[in-house]
C-alpha cells in the first residue's frame, strides 16, 4: 500500500489513541485465525507442491506431471472460455441494465426491479445449479419451446460439451448479476447531477451521456467487478461437479481446474499433484488481489 501513504494521511492519525497493548489484544483472535486458515494453508500448499509422497523435495516435478495430465490443458481451456463469456456478459449486461434502471423515472419501479434482479442471489451455490438443471431439461422446463426453437429436444442435447461455457455463464449471471446491478446503480447515483445537467445542456442525448460521461465515471467499479468475477470464475467447481452428477459423468466431469485438484487429491491419491494445481490457482488469485489492492485507490488503508 505504498501508493496511498500521504502526509495528510499520517497527520490525521491521533497520537496516543489507544495504548500500545490494546490494539494487539483486540486483534489477537483474528490474527490467530488469519494465520491458521489464511497463511498456514498456503504454506501447506507450497510444501506439498514441491515434495513427493515421501516428503522429499522434488522441485517442479509435480507441476510438470500435472500439466502433462491429459485433462489439464482441456480444463484450462474450459475455464478460460467460461471466463471470457462470463466477464463479457457481466460487464455488458450489468452496466446496460444499471444505466436503464437509472433512467426509470419512478423510484418505486426502479427499486422493485433491483430487488427482483437481486433475489436469485439467495440461491447461490448448489441450489442455483439444481434450478437450472430443471430449466434446461426440455421435459419439465417452462421455456421448453424456446429450447426447442434453438434445436434442443433432449436434456442430453442441451448439455452437449460445446454449450457448457454458455450454460455456466447463464447460471453464474443469474445468481450474481443482481448484486452487481445494485452496486452499479448506486455508483451511478453518486455521479453529481450537475455533471449530467452540463452534458444535457451541451446537447448530449442518452447514448452520448452514457458513453462519454457515465461509463467513464463507473470505470473503477467496473474494474472491481471484473477483478472479483475473474478470481471467482477461475475457481469454477460446483456447477460442473453437479452437472456431472446429473448426467452420470457424461458432461462436466474433470471440466474445471478445481475439479482436477479434487480428483488428484481424492480419486488418484496424488495429494502433491493436487497441491501443485492449487498453488497455480492460488498464485493467480493472490496476485490479482494484491495488484488490485496496491494499484487501485479502492482500499486506501488510512
Amino acid at each position: 500500500m505504498t501508493t496511498t501513504v500521504s502526509p495528510a494521511g499520517s497527520g490525521r492519525r491521533p497520537r496516543g489513541a489507544g495504548r500500545s497493548w490494546a490494539g494487539p489484544a483486540f486483534v489477537a483472535g483474528y490474527v490467530l485465525l488469519l494465520i491458521a486458515f489464511g497463511v498456514l494453508p498456503i504454506g501447506y500448499a507450497i510444501y506439498f507442491a514441491f515434495t513427493d509422497a515421501g516428503g522429499s523435495f522434488t522441485g517442479f516435478t509435480n507441476f510438470v506431471t500435472t500439466a502433462q495430465d491429459f485433462r489439464f490443458v482441456d480444463a484450462l481451456g474450459h475455464v478460460a472460455l467460461y471466463l471470457l463469456f462470463w466477464l463479457v456478459s457481466l460487464v455488458v449486461f450489468v452496466v446496460a441494465l444499471a444505466l436503464l434502471l437509472h433512467r426509470v423515472s419512478s423510484g418505486r419501479i426502479s427499486q422493485a426491479l433491483r430487488f427482483l434482479y437481486y433475489i436469485p442471489g439467495a440461491l447461490a451455490g448448489a441450489a442455483s445449479v439444481l434450478v437450472w438443471l430443471f430449466m434446461l431439461d426440455p421435459t419439465v422446463s417452462p421455456v421448453s419451446s424456446l429450447l426447442g426453437a434453438l434445436g434442443f429436444d433432449t436434456f442430453g442435447q442441451v448439455i452437449a460439451p460445446g454449450n457448457l461455457p454458455v450454460l455456466f455463464t447463464v447460471i453464474a449471471f443469474w445468481t450474481g448479476a443482481g448484486g452487481w446491478i445494485v452496486v452499479m446503480y448506486g455508483a451511478l447515483n453518486n455521479i453529481p447531477s450537475d455533471v449530467l445537467e452540463a452534458a444535457r445542456i451541451d446537447g448530449a442525448g442518452a447514448w452520448k451521456t452514457a458513453w462519454h460521461v457515465q461509463i467513464p465515471m463507473l470505470r473503477k467499479w467496473i474494474v472491481y467487478m471484473v477483478i472479483l468475477a475473474f478470481a471467482g470464475g477461475a475457481q469454477l467447481f460446483v456447477e460442473p461437479q453437479l452437472l456431472s452428477l446429473a448426467s452420470v459423468g457424461v458432461a462436466g466431469r474433470d471440466y474445471s481446474l478445481n475439479q482436477l485438484t479434487y480428483d488428484f487429491a481424492f480419486q488418484l491419491n496424488n495429494v502433491n499433484g493436487a497441491a501443485a494445481v492449487s498453488m497455480e490457482l492460488l498464485v493467480v488469485s493472490v496476485s490479482v488481489a494484491g495488484v488490485f489492492v496496491a494499484r487501485s485507490r479502492f482500499f486506501d488503508a488510512d
Binding site: 489507544g18 490494539g23 439467495a122
Partner: protein, 324 residues
C-alpha cells in the same frame, strides 16, 4: 491528491436512493423538450422491454421452483409449467422427502444450522474487536495486518479448499465439524466491514473523552464502541451466515459422511437419486418435485434473511461489494 487518498469505499459508497429533488427538477423539463418524439417513444419501448425480459429471466426460475414443489412428477411433465399443483401433492412430496434415508434432509438442515450459527458467533466475537482495533488504535504491524486482510478478502474462498484439506488432515480434524466451522470463522470481509464502519461512523474524540474520564481500554470498547456498532454487527452477521450456508466445496471435501453433510451438499446428493438424472438410482429414488422441494427447503433460511435484511445487504454490498 489528498482528497482522493482518503477515499475509502464507504466514503465514496454510492447512495442507494436517488435524491427526489434532483429527479423531479430534471425529469419533466427533459420530457417537455423532447415533445415525446418518435425517438423518445421507441427508446421507452426498447428500455421497457429489455428490463422486462430480464425480470422474466431472474424471476421465472424462482416462480417455477415454488410451483414445482406442489406437483406430482406426472403433473410436472404434462401440466402447464406455471400451474399450481395441489396442497395434497405438496404434503405428499414433503412426506417422501423426509422419508428419504429416515429424515436425512432434516438432519442436513440441522447440520447446516449448527455449522452456520457456531461459525457466525465465532466470526462476530473475533472480527468486531479486530475491526475496531484496526480503525481506532495504533500498534505495530497494523498496516501489514490491514493489507493482508484486504488481499485475503479478495481471494475467492474456493482457492484455499484443497490447501485447507491438507492442513486439517495433518491436524486429524477431517470429519469433525471444526474442519469447516473454524475456516468459516475466519472471515476477513467482516473485519474489513467493521473497520470501515468505525473509521467513517465513530469519531475518535468520543473514545478519547471516555479514556480521559478514566474508562479502561476494554471499557471503551464495551460501553462506547460496541453499542454504536450494532448496524455493522448485523451486517457482518448476515453476510457471514449467507456465506456459510451456501458454501458447497469446503464441506464437500471436509465432511464425506452422509450424516454430517450440510444441506447444500445433501441436496446435491439427492440429485444423484433422481432417476431422470441418474438412471442407476434404483428403487430408493427421489422424484423431481421432491428435489425441487428439497432445493426450496435448503434456500429458505437464506431467502428469509434476504427478504428481511434487504436494506442491510444492499448497503453492505455498497461498502466494498461482496466477496462471492
Amino acid at each position: 491528491m489528498p482528497t482522493e487518498t482518503h477515499a475509502t469505499p464507504a466514503a465514496t459508497a454510492p447512495r442507494t436512493e436517488r435524491e427526489p429533488s434532483a429527479m423531479s427538477r430534471t425529469a419533466p423539463r427533459a420530457s417537455r423538450r423532447a415533445h415525446r418524439s418518435v425517438g423518445e417513444m421507441s427508446y421507452r419501448l426498447l428500455a421497457g422491454s429489455i428490463l422486462t425480459v430480464f425480470v422474466v429471466f431472474f424471476v421465472l426460475p424462482v416462480v417455477w421452483l415454488l410451483l414445482a414443489a406442489t406437483k406430482t412428477d406426472q403433473q410436472l411433465v404434462h401440466d402447464h409449467p406455471l400451474s399450481f399443483g395441489s396442497f395434497g401433492a405438496l404434503a405428499d412430496n414433503w412426506h417422501s422427502l423426509t422419508a428419504f434415508q429416515d429424515g436425512a434432509i432434516l438432519q442436513w438442515l440441522g447440520n447446516s444450522a449448527l455449522y452456520a450459527v457456531v461459525s457466525l458467533v465465532i466470526t462476530l466475537c473475533v472480527s468486531v474487536p479486530a475491526g475496531y482495533a484496526l480503525a481506532m488504535t495504533e500498534f505495530r504491524g497494523r498496516k501489514t495486518l490491514l493489507v493482508t486482510t484486504l488481499v485475503v478478502m479478495l481471494m475467492p474462498t474456493a482457492t484455499l479448499v484443497v490447501p485447507l484439506f491438507l492442513e486439517v488432515n495433518a491436524a486429524h480434524l477431517i470429519g469433525t465439524m471444526w474442519s469447516i466451522v473454524l475456516p468459516y470463522s475466519f472471515y476477513p470481509f467482516g473485519v474489513y466491514l467493521t473497520y470501515i464502519y468505525f473509521t467513517t461512523a465513530v469519531p475518535k474524540d468520543l473514545l478519547a473523552a471516555a479514556r480521559m474520564d478514566g474508562c479502561s481500554e476494554f471499557g471503551v470498547f464495551r460501553h462506547i464502541a460496541l453499542p454504536l456498532a450494532t448496524p455493522v454487527i448485523a451486517l457482518v452477521g448476515f453476510f457471514s451466515f449467507v456465506a456459510n450456508w451456501t458454501n458447497y466445496f469446503l464441506p464437500y471435501v471436509m465432511l464425506p459422511q452422509d450424516d454430517q453433510m450440510p444441506v447444500q451438499v445433501g441436496v446435491g446428493n439427492l440429485l444423484s437419486s433422481v432417476p431422470q438424472f441418474n438412471p442407476t438410482a434404483g428403487s430408493l429414488a427421489i422424484e423431481r418435485p421432491q428435489l425441487a422441494l428439497a432445493t426450496l427447503v435448503a434456500i429458505t433460511p437464506v431467502l428469509v434473511v434476504f427478504l428481511f435484511a434487504q436494506r442491510f445487504l444492499v448497503s453492505g454490498m455498497l461498502a466494498g461489494a461482496t466477496k462471492e
